[in-house]
């Protein structure tokens, strides 16, 4: 039987063949197997999209229509338990445009055993969190008379983030060249080596000090250990997938980010494509809408097939269009026409929009086939 089915490899997707194998009783007759497989092939063929079907427009309509019903809100979860996440239409637009800077970057960090059972979860979260000097400050005293800045350190916070005061002094001294950094109990003193300093420079220095990076993972500005089902995960605001992946207690397989470009850089284009689908579908589900996932998959495919994540914008997917008229009809027509004319581009009129503009039959559906006849002699 195995052999009988093997014939159909290539005609049917491998996953489907696996499924058929699982369902067929072992002692099926050879003729029956053939009958069944022929029928399945027929069915498979008839479920495929026909040539000339306008899948793009249908996808656009299928996503666009329900999107009009979406609430234009970012949801705010009450309390500390969850964080603010961009959802709804703004998030869809963010994904489809493939924005470099997203409004609310987020990660869901899954952990390995035994940490996922809750071991040291708070400490792990603290280790991930990015710490800047401002996180440890209780009070700043600026003494303009001797160009000195005294910082009162919150020792408890320092302790809970497992940062030693020596480390603090060292990192500060490293990033502040030309200054003496000293610590005495909880008072950190920063003094210029130069004799005289402009008072406004002292204030600038104060602001600079606040933002100096001390420890943790850059970009992760908020952490939240959360119980999801049976296990504990860490949800973060701010994303830095590359650095998180380096940590030994992180389950690298399941850890997620919502930053498409970061996923593309760290995990590659296939992962980016998958996350476009997931992220979009998540929003749609959240809004209680129902869009067939294949429409979203088509969008994800068009965004990713070039090997880089490209948004559906005039700099992304639309720029790749070969037709000048199609590009010009999307946004900034004059710019496109002028650029095209500089290099003498030719529009072959192969796609839909150009032909609508010229009032010619469009090459989809009934406009696809052409009829040729042999002239009688």
């Amino acid at each position: 039987m195995e052999l009988d089915i093997k014939e159909y490899e290539g005609k049917l997707p491998p996953k489907m063949i696996e499924e058929i194998k699982g369902h067929l009783p072992a002692k099926t007759k050879k003729s029956d197997v053939k009958k069944i497989m022929e029928r399945i092939c027929e069915e498979y063929k008839s479920s495929q999209v026909e040539p000339g079907e306008s899948v793009g427009i249908i996808s656009a309509e299928s996503i666009g229509e329900p999107s009009t019903q979406m609430t234009l809100n970012t949801f705010h979860f009450a309390g500390v338990q969850e964080m603010n996440v961009t959802l709804g239409l703004p998030r869809i637009i963010e994904i489809m445009d493939a924005r470099k800077e997203i409004k609310t970057p987020m990660m869901q960090i899954y952990l390995k055993e035994p940490y996922c059972k809750g071991k040291d979860i708070k400490d792990l979260a603290q280790r991930i969190k990015e710490n800047k000097v401002r996180d440890f400050i209780k009070e700043i005293i600026v003494e303009l008379t001797d160009n000195k800045i005294d910082i009162k350190i919150d020792l408890q916070k320092l302790k809970s983030s497992e940062t030693k005061d020596v480390v603090l002094v060292k990192t500060l001294a490293k990033s502040l060249k030309g200054y003496n950094v000293k610590i005495e109990k909880d008072i950190l003193t920063i003094k210029s080596k130069a004799k005289s300093e402009n008072p406004s420079d002292v204030y600038k220095l104060k602001e600079k000090i606040k933002n100096i990076y001390i420890s943790g993972i850059k970009g992760v500005y908020q952490v939240l250990p959360v119980k999801r089902g049976e296990e504990f995960i860490i949800v973060t605001a701010g994303s830095n997938l590359k650095e998180i992946m380096k940590l030994d207690f992180v389950d690298k397989v399941r850890t997620l980010s919502n930053d498409l470009h970061e996923i593309n850089a760290v995990l590659g284009i296939e992962a980016a494509r998958a996350s476009i689908i997931n992220e979009t579908y998540k929003v749609i589900e959240n809004q209680g809408l129902n869009i067939d996932i294949r429409h979203i998959m088509l969008v994800a495919d068009t965004m990713c097939f070039s090997g880089a994540v490209k948004g559906i914008t005039r700099y992304g997917v639309v720029q790749q269009k070969s037709s000048i008229l199609a590009r010009a009809s999307f946004e900034t027509p004059i710019k496109h026409f002028i650029e095209a004319s500089l290099i003498g581009e030719v529009d072959e009129l192969n796609s839909v929009i150009e032909n609508v503009m010229l009032n010619q039959p469009i090459p989809t559906g009934t406009g696809m086939p052409e009829l040729y006849m042999k002239a009688s002699k």
């Binding site: 306008s54 427009i57 249908i58 656009a60 026409f337 030719v346 609508v356 010229l358 989809t364 696809m368």
Partner: protein, 600 residues
């Protein structure tokens, strides 16, 4: 410390907020502070807001002190004798005006019997909570507030007797209901607002049932007999205005019958109604295209050529004629002059409007709908006693909208017509539903207003009893005759050669971008092309240069813009809009060339 703000700006601080508010109110009631200034104390944020700005809605309330209304019997007596006015009560501090934010600090009693020590104010009348239009809704307190809103909005669009001197007025776009009636179920506001001087609806017999699906989606069905007897008949008036303008150089327009040699002369038939003075005569039945006021204007530009050309007149035809789809009878003509002393002619045209399918009607409860069918009297369902309703209302309109007052008015109207009296439906102070039902019972009807009904077509008895009664229905100013529009061929725009837009210009109905997408999605390529053929042209294209050329009729040849006669030319069929795009690109300094190749 309490922060005090005046019109949103910080004013200062006070130690005792309650005392401040109390003192302020006292001073205002004494008349030392203007009655339109409001004060509100937000205890949560510990702030006091004083407001004197424009655009706030203020509401009069009777002041209550220690659980007792300040408005005494004596005041009422004096008011009745006309010894004091409402404004006197305000200056005496008996009545004060309260705005929306000050209302937050008050506790207002509905009726004087409800007063307790905690109350600060008393309603003058519960009906005073709503505006004029809303208080015209009978039993309004039984409706959902949104319906009340819709109901009062609809009443403003109703046809009726809008002004008693309408015969000498030249209003734009007005309608007049022929036989308006006073509502059987009314409110005290009908009395106070002299509603019987300008009524705007008619009392009709309404049955609540569906009829063959012709009253789906809020449509109503009307008895043809009722229409023939004059139900909802109205007249539409429209003035047509023209004046003799003066131009520089002593040139003037003249209102007269245009000479035949005038530029743009129509045809003699179009001018047939005009009298010697160039104005139409009264009672002329006019239709679209007929000239109402004949007029000629001097030429637009005095070009050098025309100056020597004395033989033909260079004046233009600028008569005013009825627009597309309009008709009527000339009702009234007025010849006068305007502020600048120019001759001004106004002609009022009237058109009788008999209700037709598509006209909009409404009850007073936001239950609007268009007429879906006109049924011959014989085919209307009728009651056991032979009463044939004027109008059928679809019961599906009730559950989701919850307009209970609609149903109560129905029963109330029935009681009113049986008892020969007007029923009081003032919101919050109406006759009670129980009383109305009892009275209906006493007339020998079921107290819920339902009756045994018979199918008008088959004569069969309906299994269910049908609710019938009298209601006040309004005809709204949205009539199909003013709106319906369709076109197959017609005028096109000069620039784009595409059909004009809008009903007034007999325009086409646009197949827009999104509609286009649906054709693409269906793959109906040829159908899409055909739809967009409205501006199709065949342009001659030079095959050498790829530029659009032209046809030289004198030489009977196509010419290339660059090579002249020395090029092979071919006709290419495309949309004129695209030819325009090519021209526009040329104006950008780009050179778009069409590369032609044989299709086969």
């Amino acid at each position: 410390m309490v922060e005090v703000f005046l019109n949103g700006k910080f004013l200062g601080e006070s130690d005792d907020g309650d005392k401040l508010v109390e003192n302020f109110l006292e001073e205002r009631r004494k008349g030392k502070v203007d009655s339109s200034i409001s004060i509100s104390f937000n205890k949560e944020s510990n702030q006091i807001f004083l407001e004197s700005s424009q655009g706030r809605t203020l509401r009069p309330l009777i002041v209550v002190k220690n659980g007792k209304s300040l408005l005494s019997e004596k005041h009422i007596e004096q008011l009745e004798k006309n010894e004091i006015q409402f404004s006197d009560l305000v200056s005496q501090g008996v009545i004060e005006y309260v705005d929306a934010s000050e209302e937050e600090n008050t506790l207002v009693a509905f009726y004087s019997e409800d007063l307790t020590g905690k109350h600060t104010h008393l309603e003058i009348l519960p009906l005073a909570m709503v505006g004029l239009c809303t208080s015209l809704v009978p039993f309004g307190n039984f409706n959902q507030s949104t319906r009340l809103n819709a109901g009062s909005k609809n009443q403003k669009q109703a046809l009726g007797m809008y002004a008693l001197n309408y015969l000498v007025r030249m209003d734009m776009d007005v309608n007049l209901l022929h036989t308006p009636q006073k509502p059987l179920v009314n409110t005290i506001m009908h009395e106070y607002s002299d509603y019987d001087k300008h009524p705007s609806g008619q009392n009709v017999v309404v049955a609540v049932l569906s009829y063959d699906g012709y009253n789906m989606e809020d449509a109503i069905i009307v008895n043809k007999g009722s229409i023939e007897r004059g139900f909802a008949r109205s007249t539409y008036y429209r003035p047509i205005i023209s004046e003799e303008l003066r131009y520089s150089g002593g040139l003037v327009d003249t209102i007269n019958i245009p000479d035949k040699d005038v530029k743009g002369y129509k045809s003699e038939i179009d001018y047939r109604f005009l009298e010697e003075d160039g104005i139409i005569h009264p009672e002329a039945a006019v239709a679209e295209g007929d000239v109402i006021i004949g007029k000629t204007s001097p030429p637009r530009f005095l070009s050098s050529l025309d100056e020597y050309n004395i033989t033909t007149s260079s004046r233009r035809e600028t008569s005013i004629s009825l627009k597309h789809g309009e008709r009527g009878v000339v009702d009234f003509i007025m010849i006068t002059e305007n502020e600048e002393g120019n001759k001004l002619v106004q002609v009022r045209v009237r058109d009788q409007r008999i209700p037709e399918i598509g006209d909009k009607f409404t009850s007073r409860h936001g239950q609007k709908g268009v007429m879906g069918l006109i049924v011959p009297s014989a085919d209307m369902p009728c009651s056991a006693s032979g009463v044939v309703p004027d109008l059928l209302f679809n019961p599906h309109g009730i559950p989701s909208r919850m307009t209970i007052a609609h149903l109560i008015e129905l029963i109330g109207g029935k009681v009113g017509s049986l008892g020969g009296r007007y029923v009081d439906g003032t919101a919050f102070n109406s006759e009670t539903e129980v009383d109305i039902r009892k009275e209906l019972l006493s007339y020998g009807f079921r107290e819920d207003g339902s009756e045994v009904f018979y199918n008008g077509i088959t004569g069969e008895k309906f299994t269910a009893r049908i609710m019938v009664g009298n209601m006040y229905y309004l005809k709204l100013k949205h009539m199909v005759a003013n709106k319906m529009h369709a076109r197959a061929r017609g005028p096109i725009q000069l620039l784009t050669r595409q059909p004009t837009e809008g009903r007034a210009k007999e325009g086409g109905l646009r197949l827009g971008e999104m509609e286009k997408d649906t054709f693409v999605a269906h793959g109906t390529s040829m159908l899409l092309k055909e739809r967009f053929d409205s501006d199709r042209v065949a342009v001659p294209v030079c095959m050498k240069s790829g530029l659009v050329g032209y046809y030289d009729a004198r030489k009977n040849k196509m010419m290339s813009p660059i090579y002249g006669e020395d090029s092979e030319m071919a006709y290419v069929e495309l949309s004129y809009a695209f030819k325009l795009l090519l021209d526009e690109l040329k104006s950008l300094g780009l050179c778009p060339r069409l590369k032609l190749e044989d299709k086969y």
